[in-house]
């Protein structure tokens, strides 16, 4: 990857998918099957966007960034673009953002607890992508 990519751009999405597939083996992902949508409100271009992941048997099969109605997912997390950007950069932990109520999670909390460490791994990988926020 030559330079920086814009956050939530198609280039950024491609890089996320490439790195996740490269760095997260099905074993590291505990062979989970799940899906999660991050709903971004108030993006710089004035839209609301979503970032959607699908994971089947520990393999990331789909990474999607788009506007409009997000696909059905087992979990959805909603928050402002600014906050998600700070979470992705590692400035704010997702845990703190959730505990302060600034991020809003929907889904089975018990299952979410099991996936918390995997979510952190994904976030760490995303944070290493040179990105313009």
């Amino acid at each position: 990857m030559a330079g920086k990519v814009s956050y939530l751009s198609s280039e950024w999405r491609d890089e996320v998918e490439r790195r996740l597939r490269e760095e997260l083996s099905p074993e590291k992902m505990k062979h989970i099957t799940t899906s999660v949508t991050f709903n971004y409100t108030g993006c710089p271009d004035g839209t609301d966007k979503y970032l959607h992941f699908t994971c089947v048997d520990g393999v990331i099969t789909d990474v999607k960034v788009d506007t409009g109605d997000p696909p059905q997912a087992e979990f959805s997390i909603t928050g402002s673009y600014d906050l998600f950007a700070r979470v992705t950069q590692g400035i704010v932990t997702s845990q703190r953002a959730l505990m302060s109520g600034k991020l809003r999670l929907k889904g089975n909390m018990v299952k979410a607890l099991k996936l918390a460490s995997l979510s952190d791994r994904i976030n760490k990988i995303m944070s290493r992508i040179p990105t313009i926020y």
Binding site: L98, L103, R104, M109, V110, L113
Partner: protein
């Protein structure tokens, strides 16, 4: 998720309970029931929910429990409901109990207006679990478009009469309690009581009952309640969490122990006189035993709390010991969380036992009596779950009714 089979003596048909609730909801135009009382959660889920929990019952289909996330997987494991119907709440955005339940009603159940049955009221029993004022206001705000109506009578009316599985569970809980009593009697006999504390006695009973299958000395009044000496005679002393008081010769000893088996509750109190007994103590003991025997004979379908109390207080008056009797002879009991009040909330004192409640076959109550003589530091307590029958009652604990002098 727990599975039981029809040939299990402790089988309870929970889906049938659910359909009974849903029929009553339909009849009362209730679109969704939001239960919060411990008794409701136990009766429907078959799991002990020690943290603040809620159960959302739709008009059709399975209910969903919301409990504190740290305990949700265990509740799902204990319940007949699967993990998709036992959800955890947590202090996280979107995951708090109010948001999650409101979202569930709107998004998952697809309801946007209607009547939500809730459980309001008051109780002398701390873990009752009525919806708090704060919760009520929060749900009212987050579920605008719905009206919240008090509907606990639905569960109360359905849970009064015990089914066979519940009765068998209560019998087993009492059998376990009897094992605890045998262990205590063995430990205090032949001078074993010397130097023994109330807390040790509570522990001896607990170990024996745990070995026999009890999962908890469930009582919120302090687990196994042991009282000795002057503590047996406290007039307002019907709850006696064990202390480190050491037994002394001449003491009375109350051993009131509790077991829990599959959410059914054992609760039996047995009394001793330690080391020696005065004639006066034996007179009190005879009074106590006679009134317990008389009371047990009085319970049958058709009797009421007040009819029994009047009959027994007349007897006590005739024999000259009415001043020592607390004029109440029972308290309610059901699956964990269902304690104290008997029957419905349809008496003159809201949320207390209706004195004119008419007992029916297959109700279970705790026959309970407190005989207290504070001036003489003497007293006795009787508690025993009894199954009301057509012509009498079945005391579930079978440890013999005596006041024994332990030499």
């Amino acid at each position: 998720m727990k599975k039981t089979t029809l040939n299990d003596p402790y089988f309870i048909d929970f889906p049938h309970r659910l359909s009974q609730i849903q029929e009553k909801m339909a009849a009362e135009d209730i679109d969704v029931y939001l239960g919060s009382r411990l008794r409701t959660l136990s009766w429907i889920t078959d799991a002990f929910c020690p943290w603040r929990s809620y159960i959302v019952i739709p008009a059709h289909g399975l209910p969903t429990v919301f409990t504190f996330v740290i305990d949700a997987a265990r509740v799902a494991d204990d319940s007949w409901l699967d993990e998709d119907h036992v959800l955890g709440y947590a202090p996280l955005g979107g995951m708090d109990q109010i948001t999650q339940i409101s979202d569930f009603i709107r998004d998952t159940l697809g309801l946007h207006k209607g009547h939500i049955g809730v459980e309001n009221g008051m109780s002398n029993y701390l873990p009752e679990g009525n919806l708090t004022h704060y919760e009520h206001e929060c749900f009212k705000e987050s579920l605008s478009g719905f009206s919240l109506v008090n509907a606990h009578h639905i569960i109360d009316s359905l849970s009064i009469i015990k089914d066979q599985g519940t009765i068998n569970r209560f019998r087993e809980a009492s059998r376990i309690v009897d094992k605890g009593h045998r262990a205590v009697k063995g430990a205090i006999s032949h001078g074993g009581w010397k130097g023994m504390t109330e807390t040790e006695i509570a522990g001896i009973a607990a170990l024996a009952m745990r070995r026999a299958g009890s999962v908890w000395e469930w009582s919120f009044t302090g687990g196994n309640e042991i009282a000795s000496g002057y503590r047996t005679g406290l007039a307002g002393g019907a709850c006696t969490p064990a202390t480190t008081r050491k037994l002394k010769a001449g003491d009375g000893l109350m051993v009131d122990i509790h077991a829990m088996f599959k959410l059914a509750l054992g609760d039996h109190s047995h009394n001793y006189l330690i080391g020696r007994a005065t004639k006066r103590q034996l007179w009190h003991a005879r009074n106590f035993l006679d009134i317990v025997s008389g009371t047990l004979k009085a319970y049958k379908a058709g009797a009421s709390p007040v009819s029994i109390a009047e009959e027994m207080m007349d007897f006590a008056e005739t024999r000259g010991f009415s001043e020592f009797m607390v004029p109440g002879f029972e308290h309610g009991i059901g699956m964990m969380g269902d304690e104290w009040r008997i029957g419905m909330n349809d008496g003159p004192m809201p949320y207390w036992t209706n004195p004119d409640h008419t007992y029916r076959e297959n109700e279970i109550v705790i026959c309970a009596m407190q005989y207290a003589c504070p001036q003489e530091d003497t007293g006795f307590r009787y508690e025993n779950p009894i199954l009301i029958g057509k012509d009498g009652c079945e005391p579930l604990s079978r440890f013999g009714l005596k006041v024994e002098v332990i030499e």
